[in-house]
Structure formats: C-alpha cells, structure tokens
C-alpha cells in the first residue's frame, strides 16, 4: 500500500491538498482512503460530507475518515488507562479529573496513527492519504513510534518491578489497587506488536511525507526545519506542494502585481532549497475549493500528468561504512546549520540533536565500541567518524 502524509504550517491548505490528491487517485482507478489525523478535523468540510471514525464510502474507489482520538485511545490503551483511572479514583479523585490525569504523553498521537494504519490495512486500499496536524504535532506523531518504544519500556519496568517484587509484600503496606496482569498484557502488546507495526508503517519505502507551503517566508522557514527533522528520523519526503500562487488573472491587478513577482521569487527559491524534491504548484482559487468536483479540478492543476500516488523522489538514508582505521556514519540532514547541531556518542548510541528534536541511533556492535573522533557537516550531509579508542580493543 502506498501512503502519503501531508503536513505543513497551520493554514497552508493541507486538508484541501490531501482531499484533492485522494479524489484524483480514486478517479484514476486506485482504491483510495483519505484520513484526517488532525484533531481539529476539517476534512469533512472540504469533502462536503459528514465523516465518521470508520471509513465511509464517498464515491467509487474513495473512502474517508476522521480519527476519533479519544475512543481510539480507549480501544488501544484501555486497560492501562482504566487501571490508572481506578488508581486515581481510589484516591477520591473525580472521574472527570482522573480521565485527564491518566492521559499519558504521546498516547493520543500513537493511537491516532494506529487507527489510520489499522483502517488502511484492513480496507486493502492501494493508496492511503493522511491529512496530518500542523508541522510540530505531526513531527511528534511521526517520530513517536521510535521514542515511545523507550517510554513504554520504562513503564513496563516500573510496573513489572511493582508487580513481581513488591506486590506480595506491599499489599499490606500501601493501600492502592495494584495492576492486574491484563494491564501488562496490554502494555506489552502495545510495546512489542503495535509499535513495531507503526514503525514499519511510517518507515516503509512506499510511505512518503509531502510538505505543504505557501509562497511566504515564514511558512517556508518552518518547512525547512521540518525537512531536517524528518530526515533525521529517516522519514522520506518525496515532494513539496506550493499552494496559493496568484494566477495570471489576479497578478494583472495593480494591488497584486508586485506580490505576484515576489511569489515567483519564492517559488524559485523553494525549488532550489528543496531540490531534488519536485515542487508541485497550485493557484489561489477564486472561491473555496470544496466538494469532489472542485477538488478534482484542483488536483488536475496540482499534478498535471504526474500520478498522485507515484513516489516522486527517493530520499537518501543513513549509511554506515568502513573506512581507514574505523567507520563513518553518513546522516543526510538537509538545511541543517552546524550551529544547531548536537552530536554525541552515549554508550552504544549516536545521539543527534537538531535544536528542536533529538534522535538516538543504536550503533551496530562493530561501531559501538569505537570512539567518536569527528563530526562534520558538509552540504546536506552530516559525517560522523569513529575510530578505535587509544589503548582500546
């Protein structure tokens, strides 16, 4: 299944672009699902249909859904949550408040993605288009499967320790309900199976992110940072979509003339900045783009002869290579500035921070015992050299 996730700064037209992509693909015969993973749903408004948390059939080959995050959280994370709530309620805390307190960081993002993945897989679609939240939350969403792996491991350790070591003794000491084995089963299930599945889903070669921008400086700046962070987590971008270019009809008006020229400069700049990613463009329409027909027209302008489900570009991945006296690790990091980069080796992990995000990469055993000797950013590539520790093995 081909998966395309759209993200970008708030208000740039992500939802319209996602819906248009899906309508276009469906009309060219691909069985398509378009899903909104943004908790402030507007996909239904754009498609002019009331959408539910399960796929509804809109047209031949076209299904759509808006994830109901609270109920999905309950579904995937229910037993653990119920336990936390019972624990809190036992302390005399009102149900309403307990529910809020029992929200674990990241749990909502994880379950949103789980829902999209599950419905997309079960439905046997050729193509899934995901309308993500604005950049920052989207990055959180997409990098979480990796981060959460560790988080849940901690949770398991804490609870595991409580149950196996303390429980028999502590029942007399602390008057709190202790977790039932079902809680662990749920947590383990989430940890070992669902998260792996999410990691596969997001990391699949046929999954790409598309960055949506408008020809405005601030929007472009944010997309650049997102591109860096996505690369750090090896989430490949395959295209940039630039919305709201003034069409010739508007550019001729006095008011818009200089602005239209500036927009073209921005377009050229974006093409250069994000190369080799293709930049797809769509004009500012003279009215709201809603409903299947207008969306199909919009997609025609956006894609032209390009297939909307094609992989439009492939991103380089992180590479480990032997070199004289050690190893080198190459990390593609487009637009990264060396000032913001933070590179360190901690135990057997390579930790890279971009100022906004950090990733810890587990090093292969043959590199893990070496020392980090140099890290250098050249162009869009971070190269980290590892050599044998003096007096080491």
């Amino acid at each position: 299944m081909r998966v395309v996730l759209y993200t970008g700064k708030g208000g740039v037209g992500k939802t319209t672009t996602a819906a248009a992509t899906a309508v276009h693909a469906a009309r060219s015969g691909r069985s398509t699902l378009v899903a909104s993973a943004d908790s402030a749903h507007s996909l239904g408004d754009v498609l002019e249909r009331r959408l539910g948390p399960r796929p509804s059939h809109l047209a031949p080959n076209l299904d759509a859904l808006e994830v109901d995050t609270p109920s999905e959280t309950q579904r995937h994370w229910g037993a653990v949550r119920d336990y936390l709530i019972s624990l809190l309620r036992y302390q005399g805390i009102e149900e309403v408040v307990a529910e809020e307190l029992a929200l674990l960081p990241g749990a909502e993002e994880i379950t949103t993605l789980l829902a999209v993945e599950a419905y997309a897989r079960e439905g046997g679609y050729d193509f899934a288009v995901v309308d993500c939240a604005p950049t920052d939350s989207a990055l959180r969403l997409l990098t979480l499967p990796e981060v959460a792996r560790g988080a849940f491991r901690v949770l398991l350790r804490v609870q595991g320790a409580l149950a196996s070591i303390v429980t028999p003794l502590a029942r007399n000491l602390i008057p709190v309900p202790l977790p039932e084995s079902e809680v662990f089963r749920d947590a383990e299930h989430l940890l070992f199976r669902k998260l792996r599945r999410l990691r596969d889903f997001v990391g699949d070669r046929r999954t790409s992110v598309r960055l949506v921008v408008t020809p405005e400086r601030m929007v472009i700046d944010e997309a650049r940072r997102a591109h860096t962070d996505l690369a750090l987590f090896e989430l490949p971008c395959d295209a940039v979509v630039m919305n709201r270019l003034l069409p010739p009809a508007a550019a001729e008006e006095d008011f818009f003339r200089d602005w239209a020229r500036l927009q073209l400069e921005r377009l050229v700049e974006v093409e250069e900045l994000f190369a080799p990613l293709p930049v797809l463009t769509a004009p500012l329409q003279d009215d709201e783009v809603t409903g299947l027909d207008r969306l199909a027209e919009h997609a025609d302008r956006l894609f032209g002869a390009i297939e909307p489900d094609a992989v439009l570009s492939t991103a380089p991945r992180i590479r480990f290579e032997a070199e004289d006296g050690g190893y080198r690790v190459e990390v593609p990091l487009p637009h990264a500035g060396s000032g913001d980069l933070d590179v360190a080796k901690i135990d057997d992990e390579l930790v890279i921070g971009t100022g906004t995000r950090r990733r810890s990469l587990l090093l292969p055993r043959r590199i893990a015992h070496l020392e980090l000797s140099q890290a250098k950013l050249g162009g869009d590539l971070l190269v980290v050299h590892f050599t044998a520790a003096p007096g080491g093995r």
Partner: protein, 385 residues
C-alpha cells in the same frame, strides 16, 4: 507587569501580531519583553534574524527570547531527570528521559514560567507572549488544575510509599525505581512555580489574551470555542484582532467572491466576540523585520497604546445575589446542552464539551450542594443551597 497573550488557530498571524504589539507598546515608552512560547518558534523567521533562548534586544525598548523546553528542563529538573535516567540506564536510552518529561501542556507551561522570571527582574512593564496555537494553549491552561489535584490527593501518599519501598527495593537491587526525596522536592518546587504562573494568568487586571483570527469560516468557528474555553479557565480576553482583510482595491477583481465571503465572516465575528475589535488588512507583500511590523502596529492600533487593557472582565466571579453567594462564569457561544456542573469537596467542576475546569470554591459555599445552575445570555450562574 502587564502580560498580553497572543493566541489563535495555526497560521493566522499570531507571531506577526505579537511582535507588532511589542513594538507598538515600546513606541508608547513601555519597556517590553517579547516571549515565544510556541514550540515551533517563528519569532526569528518573522524578524529575519536569529532569536534564541537568551534574551536579545531586537529593537529600541524590546527584548525577546524563545523558550526551549528541553533546556528549561535541563536547567530546573535535573532531579526528576536523574530518576528517569536511573530507570533507563540499563536500556542506555538517555535522551528519552527528556522526551518523556514533555507532557502535553507542560511545554507551553515552561514558557509561562519564563513570564515569572521576566517579572522578577523588575526591568519590564509589559510582557507579550506569542503563544502556541489555541489547542496547545488550552492544554497548558488545564495543566495547573491537574497538577493541583495530583498534589492534594496523591503526592503525599506517593512520597510515603516511596519511603516505605526504598529499603525493600534496595535489597532486591531495584532502588532506581523508587524516586529519591529530592525528586519529590523538585516536584514540589514545580508546583509552586505553576501556582505562581496560574495567579498571573488569572489576574484579569494585568493579564489578558488577544485572539487573532482570519475572516474565514473554519478559523472563526475554532476561535469561538477557544474564546469560551479561555474564559472557562479564568483568562480574560480583551480584544480580537481580525487579520488579513482584503482591502477595497483587491476586493473587486479575481478575489471578488472571497471578499463577499469575508463580509459574512466579519458579521459573524462581530456577533461571536462582544469585545473590542482591531483590524489589519492583507498586505500585497510579506511583512518581515522591525520596520514592517512597527508599521503593522500603527495600522492596527493607530494612536492607542497596545498595552492598554481594552476591556476589564473577570470571566469567573462571585457575587451576592438575594443574600446568597452566586458564582458566574462567562461562556460565550456555548449552549446549555454542552455544559455540565457538579461539585466535589471544595471544588466546583464545570465541564464544557470535552474540557473541564475545577474551580476552588470560597469557604462560604464550600461543601454546599448546588441549588440551581442556569445559562443566561452566555453567562453560567450557579447558586448554592
């Protein structure tokens, strides 16, 4: 110190207006601190220069900084981190401890803690905060309540539990699992700081929110709800800024239909936000840098001082009515069916759709049952028995 929070849906122009507000206030000879609390910082993008975690003068009378949550955590809660790292050590997952600490809402709250620090310097008259999009801002406002409940109900028990468990765990070599006393002290400190921030936020005489909207349906819809939620959390909103209105010279041609839609939205903004309104046009170019944004401030505020409190309100208040204490809460644009009111011990719980607020009740009505709750002209009135 006056505190002004700029919030609104993503992409409406919060950052530009936050900078404009700061520059406008500085032009009225206030000493201004401009703070970015949006994790996706864009102050630097809008100014065309770097703004980092350290305060930097960006214009005459304006100092700015962006709050980096990971750094803040490093700085203040090394103890909490140490505990988490202890848990993680065997898994060699150091970085994770930091990620784990970024609870929803905490990140934004950290930024507000910075407001407290600005005040403590005594060097500033006005602090303008470029907040995260409304969803995140509301999560932030919910956080102090949750923390208070945790502290009141759970904290001491946890601490006692930890003391009991520690010797036991040490014997089975799992001591890292039970937090040290310092961990609890760090949490207590955090609680104190959060309480201070809450006090600042809810003081309507000096702290107000300003909602930035665009004349577009989805934006207005979402902002209407945010307006009610801000009020529910006790934050006064003293103005709405309508940004990117098509000017007359652009409204006749290709964008005529957009202009017509905008007129409809302006009416709905007028009806939904019974507070002072400011307007900014769509400019036929990008606004970037000090000069452009100072110009925006002049277009929006004219001769008025942006630091003024444009409307004095107290969204949640107590008053005597027929000899009894009545609690009133402004909940504009919310229907009766969306509200639920209950009491629990010394708190009143008001639930609006999926947001809930605990309001600590004064001694005079504490523990009394609710006699009557009704919604009248956008105001929730609660009488106690």
């Amino acid at each position: 110190m006056r505190v002004i929070l700029l919030t609104g849906k993503g992409g409406v122009g919060k950052t530009s207006h936050a900078i404009a507000t700061a520059l406008g206030a500085a032009a009225h000879r206030h000493r201004v601190f401009l703070l970015s609390a949006d994790p996706a910082h864009s102050l630097g993008d809008a100014l065309g220069r770097r703004v980092g975690a350290r305060p930097v003068a960006i214009a005459e009378g304006v100092v700015a900084r962006e709050v980096a949550v990971l750094d803040e955590l490093d700085r203040s809660w090394s103890e909490i981190q140490r505990w988490l790292r202890g848990l993680l050590r065997e898994d060699t997952d150091e970085v994770l401890a930091e990620e784990l600490l970024v609870f929803p809402g905490l990140e934004e709250l950290m930024a507000l803690r910075a407001v407290r620090e600005v005040e403590a310097t005594g060097d500033f008259d006005v602090c303008v905060v470029d907040c995260a999009p409304t969803g995140a801002t509301l999560r932030m406002l919910r956080f102090p309540d949750a923390l208070r409940i945790f502290m009141e109900n759970f904290f001491d028990l946890e601490r006692r539990g930890a003391r009991l468990l520690r010797p036991l765990m040490e014997r089975v070599r799992a001591a890292g699992v039970v937090p040290r006393d310092e961990f609890f002290e760090a949490i207590e400190r955090l609680y104190g700081e959060v309480e201070d921030v809450r006090q600042i936020l809810m003081d309507g005489d000096r702290t107000t929110a300003r909602l930035v909207v665009n004349p577009a349906r989805v934006v207005v819809e979402e902002t209407r709800r945010s307006f009610a939620y801000l009020s529910l959390y006790g934050v006064a909103t003293d103005a709405v800024v309508v940004n990117r209105l098509l000017p007359a010279e652009a409204a006749g041609g290709y964008l005529a239909r957009w202009a017509e839609r905008e007129r409809g939205e302006l009416d709905s903004i007028q009806a939904s936000f019974p507070i002072p309104q400011f307007r900014a046009p769509l400019y036929p170019r990008e606004l970037r840098g000090i000069e452009d944004l100072a110009g925006l401030a002049r277009d929006v505020f004219g001769d008025r001082d942006p630091a003024e409190v444009f409307m004095h309100t107290r969204p949640i208040r107590l008053r005597k009515h027929a000899g009894r204490t009545r609690l009133e809460a402004d909940l504009p644009g919310i229907s009766k069916e969306e509200i639920e009111v209950t009491t629990r011990g010394s708190d009143l719980i008001v639930r609006v759709r999926n947001a809930s607020r605990l309001i600590a009740l004064p001694a005079s009505v504490r523990g009394r049952p609710i006699r009557k709750a009704r919604l009248h002209d956008g105001v929730l009135e609660v009488d106690f028995g």
